[in-house]
Symmetry: C4
Subunit: 211 residues, 4 copies
Amino acid sequence: MSQRFAQLAQALAAVAGGLHGRGWVLGTSGNLSAVVEQDPLRLAITPSGADKGALRAEQILLIDERAGVISEPGARPSDESLLHLRIVAERGAGAVLHTHSTWSTLLSDLFGAGAGLPIEGYEMLKGLAGVKTHEHREWLPILENSQDMPALADKVGEVLKQHKDAHGFLLRRHGLYTWGNDLAQAQRHVEILEFLLETIGRTLLMKKQAN
Amino acid sequence: MSQRFAQLAQALAAVAGGLHGRGWVLGTSGNLSAVVEQDPLRLAITPSGADKGALRAEQILLIDERAGVISEPGARPSDESLLHLRIVAERGAGAVLHTHSTWSTLLSDLFGAGAGLPIEGYEMLKGLAGVKTHEHREWLPILENSQDMPALADKVGEVLKQHKDAHGFLLRRHGLYTWGNDLAQAQRHVEILEFLLETIGRTLLMKKQAN
Amino acid sequence: MSQRFAQLAQALAAVAGGLHGRGWVLGTSGNLSAVVEQDPLRLAITPSGADKGALRAEQILLIDERAGVISEPGARPSDESLLHLRIVAERGAGAVLHTHSTWSTLLSDLFGAGAGLPIEGYEMLKGLAGVKTHEHREWLPILENSQDMPALADKVGEVLKQHKDAHGFLLRRHGLYTWGNDLAQAQRHVEILEFLLETIGRTLLMKKQAN
Amino acid sequence: MSQRFAQLAQALAAVAGGLHGRGWVLGTSGNLSAVVEQDPLRLAITPSGADKGALRAEQILLIDERAGVISEPGARPSDESLLHLRIVAERGAGAVLHTHSTWSTLLSDLFGAGAGLPIEGYEMLKGLAGVKTHEHREWLPILENSQDMPALADKVGEVLKQHKDAHGFLLRRHGLYTWGNDLAQAQRHVEILEFLLETIGRTLLMKKQAN
């Protein structure tokens, strides 16, 4: 397991650097995790408050299913560890990525009242796991933001049960959560959902002009 | 031929990396091909479902004129191989590139009802093969998107016959196809058409404001 | 001290390159500083008129608390050295960064009449030192621009006394100032505030559409 | 002279790569030159039709004051060589840079009827050679585009005589020309003017919303 943890820590740091380059995890925003072992659950996750543009593999922590740190007692994992753990439990995900982009932030606010955002009819949707056609309708649930992590984790759990086909969700004025079987698939889902959110935002701007 | 295939595979992977850097082939979107041999036709093409940000030359496949894989039996070439082959057949192209940018996606939708988008009066047009003046009028046809590839390939064939001077076309809510005598020319056409689409999109936004 | 100056000069040049890559210190715009010693005050600072995209550590100057150059007599430090020194004095900052982005420039103008810009309810705010919840309200003061540096430094001093919790301020049609305990924290504050300004600007554009 | 030509060719290729990275000389657009010798005039300039993203120093040509190629008989210099030569003659410039950005292209069209675009009150203006305060008013003349290069060069000459303080001009639906005493100053002028054009474009969009 130790070697697998080391490999995933390297991979998570590399993914963080790429996401930072695109401006999707500026400052200390965003957090990333990957499952090291399923039973008992061991998750490699970014630490609390780390600059994502300068993240090194040595900073990645190993936590258990209650967000207790195993690798480095006393260190503090991401504040949102409980959300990552809930997603892993509900979806059987191998990796969870959370980004803050300008488009996901502003659309989570604009569509927040309806508690979700529909994405429909785009070829890009085919990049989401299991989607075979652009005629797919993806519903991206939006949850109100909160600092009460156990309560928010419970809401995430409910939403995931309610929307069994969702590939991600938004926290209002906060950002995007998505996941995948492995880190590569989770990264692909980030790219696809961020692309679609930007496209929807810009289209909305163009269409409103036209009226 | 084997050496030429290896060189083109390297070149295709490098071009994919550059397009991914600009956000034009995020996730598994987009596909790229280059002609290895004309008779019998042999095409180097990206595999189905590959992440364009991590594409390696070894993943590029060699296919024949019916999209059968020669290099690695059992592997699956891009879902859109038939479109690439049709473009090569109709235009004698040496390379075909397909990108998904936010601007091409949203304009393909906005202008889709008219089944095309005019681009006229821009100096940048002179970068398209055979265009000598900014007074050129380029008509970029738009086709409805479909997952029925043989049918879509036939429509592409018709559109290319109908618009003999077109340097590219859009698939609605999907993206841009363009091509060139060789990979360098095809890449240039991507840059030029994507630039013009972004410029037209932003101009439209500014002008509508003014009314 | 000499070794610490050399290290900070290297770090400042690296940060300048990163900010230039994002388009936040184009041309000769922006300036950067870090405290080498607190008593007597010694500040490492970018020289006047340097291209930030090509800044080398050797160009960084060492100045005293009156902006007199120690490291290289006759050289000229940033025109805005007095602002940096005032921020260090008022806030006990270890580093001060000043950027010119398109969004900070245009919002400083749009909100300039109200002499400030509120930022409220965004998770990203938690990246600012001491902020524990997205329910925080950050007030970003806006000062009229001026070439009279001693007078402007006095105004900066007043504004910092008046808004004791502010993590930055804008100069109208000019750009953003922020700071931190050290260079890493100051850089994080730049990323967070620039992100929030872009998000607020784009949201404003979307909401006005909706009316 | 040969060594100076070689150095400038290297520098021009490096600047082209940087401008291409920002999307300001996509495809074959844009051209770059630097004075190798003033008397007789010898100019290092990009060749006609070269992809700016893949430009190598060996491709740079040496031309005389009539755009005749000295370094490589039979090669074809930039179509716009006469414009570069006219700017060098009128302004005594050491380097001339021409870019095509989306913002310069669209603003050259929007403001084209008034034959110029005012830029006023921005701190960023201080990066232009000789400008000491943000209270400066820069007038950026706009010329109608043309493929008749001798005629267009004459118009450029007139406009430069008429607007002796201008640091650049726009060709309508085409792009920006600017220059400097040397290549570093010309590059700085590109960054500053492109920044200001983007800022003005985005501000216009925001302000029109407000009405």
